[in-house]
Symmetry: C2
Subunit: 197 residues, 2 copies
């Protein structure tokens, strides 16, 4: 190797990060190869030394997003008792900060309606990531003593994703805040996570 041994790997990672952010913010179809390269400080030509196609970049970027997302979920729950951990995750997920951060945050909410239109590889990666997130939530619900934890986890994630997405789509700030709040209250009650006053 003539360049630094890790040179290309570093560039690769930078590209993945840049793509993951851009795709969440702009959507897979509005993101261009040239734009991603520029964001990483490069020009468009070298792209195909890193990825075989744009589709492959999209797939890989989705994987990257879910890694961040799972890490975040684990971090919220780690070193907390189950109820407090789940409460913390819900509060993070249904927060104004999460709603307003277009280029980071949960890939499920950012890409959900783009997904059925992507090619198979990307869809598989996404589905895999979503399944894993569901498992993390189910595990937490199980610790809380819910018998049908898997079913409940599906329902919980559905409302999280739906509420965050609806809040992002709502143009009236007050309504948007309300949407987040209503689902937060509803979920808190439903899973008996009322903070011990």
């Amino acid at each position: 190797m003539r360049y630094d041994a890790e040179h290309k790997q570093n560039t690769h990672k930078k590209l993945l990060k840049a793509a993951a952010d851009a795709i969440r913010a702009e959507g897979p179809h509005r993101v261009g190869v040239a734009g991603v390269m520029a964001k990483a400080g490069l020009t468009h030509g070298g792209f195909y030394a890193h990825f075989a196609s744009k589709d492959e970049l999209v797939s890989a970027a989705i994987g990257q997003m879910f890694e961040e997302s799972h890490a975040r979920a684990m971090r919220e729950m780690l070193d907390r008792d189950p109820a407090e951990g789940l409460r913390a995750y819900i509060r993070f997920y249904l927060s104004r900060a999460h709603r307003d951060a277009k280029d980071v945050g949960c890939p499920v909410a950012s890409l959900i309606s783009d997904l059925p239109r992507l090619e198979t590889a990307a869809r598989e990666r996404f589905a895999e990531g979503a399944r894993q997130l569901t498992l993390i939530l189910a595990e937490q619900l199980r610790k809380l003593g819910h018998a049908d934890a898997d079913a409940q986890a599906d329902s919980l994630l559905a409302e999280l994703v739906g509420a965050l997405s609806m809040a992002r789509a709502e143009t009236d700030p007050k309504r948007s805040d309300a949407i987040i709040l209503h689902s937060r209250q509803s979920l808190t009650r439903r899973f008996q996570l009322e903070s011990p006053a």
Copy 2:
């Protein structure tokens, strides 16, 4: 007028319908002016006699989708007692048929993550449509005696949209069916819509 008096209006409506279907199936950014015209049996050139721009078409098509969607919601609830009506709507919304119909069905689920990326006019139309759908649901919940009907309607719609979207994204058919079912059960229980055995 040399052509039939309604000729242009009819074309206009055909374009709106075609656009509404294509946009739900392909997404606003992947739909092309030429494709929509072709779907209506025309060629691309005449487009600008009907719409000032593609953006305007997208906005108008979103309005069209919500008209269909609200009509559907009303139809499910009409001539039924509140509980049965709401149950019927939930069963329609969280059904395999709705999940598998890419080009028709609720615009909220089809476009939710494209929305933050559209221009203002389209976002306003969407938000307006979503608000109205929430109102329809809230009204139904109010009839059922729920005190905080507005908040509950937000939460209900969030789970509906989230679950349908997640089911569409899931590549494993059995998991996809399960996602729909879990939210249907969860909502049915939550709003006490158990069918009278």
